[in-house]
Amino acid sequence: MSVFLQTEPFDPGALLTAFSVGRSETGAVVSFTGLARAEAGATTTLELDAYPGFTDAEIGRIAQAAAERFGLDDLLIVHRTGPIAPGEAIVFVATAAAHRRAAFEACDHLMDYLKSRAPFWKKERGPAGERWIEPTAADLADASRWDTKETS
């Protein structure tokens, strides 16, 4: 299980290749890649602020809990911080499990967490200026789907 925060761009495919090789008992690998959208020219740069030592520890704690809850063979989270151009990957999550349901649910769950509860702060810059993005009502509802299940 690995969690990386990095300012450098990354290639999701290279991460998926490295994550998938040499697995003989993993039946399912699910990946999510979050890309920065240009919003038809409205966004020229995305900037992600993180709190080193806190952000990575929080993500690691959630990742560990997800690995146990969904019975994962392995998982990988790579998250950019700093300025990100449209079309570049912001986040990559890969989950490996014996069967596909666990891999899908764990990846979906981790993304819901990362989108609404992980300690990042996101600013969009464009021709019209800049604004901080906060989780949408849909993001919060998505994340809360997993709360009721946590005790079951």
Binding site: G53, H79, W121, W132
Partner: protein
């Protein structure tokens, strides 16, 4: 006294990201910072752990104010 860190829109609003501020407790620090750190969803972390109530601070304390989070 504590090392105070601001993140996201709080740093933009304050015009600084990190500052040493004299305060014996988290509540005293909140009072000193006023409106800057008040508002829905703003959390405080002392030494990288979220603190909901009050807490004494020392010169070695690191206090971070975190607006609502938005990853991915």
């Amino acid at each position: 006294m504590a090392r105070v860190l601001l993140f996201g829109r709080l740093a933009d609003a304050a015009g600084w990201r990190e500052r040493i501020i004299e305060a014996a407790s988290l509540s005293a620090l909140r009072a000193a910072l006023g409106d800057l750190v008040e508002g829905p969803g703003i959390q405080a972390a002392v030494d990288k752990a979220i603190v909901r109530g009050d807490m004494a601070l020392t010169a070695a304390s690191e206090v971070a104010f975190l607006p609502p989070m938005s990853g991915g």
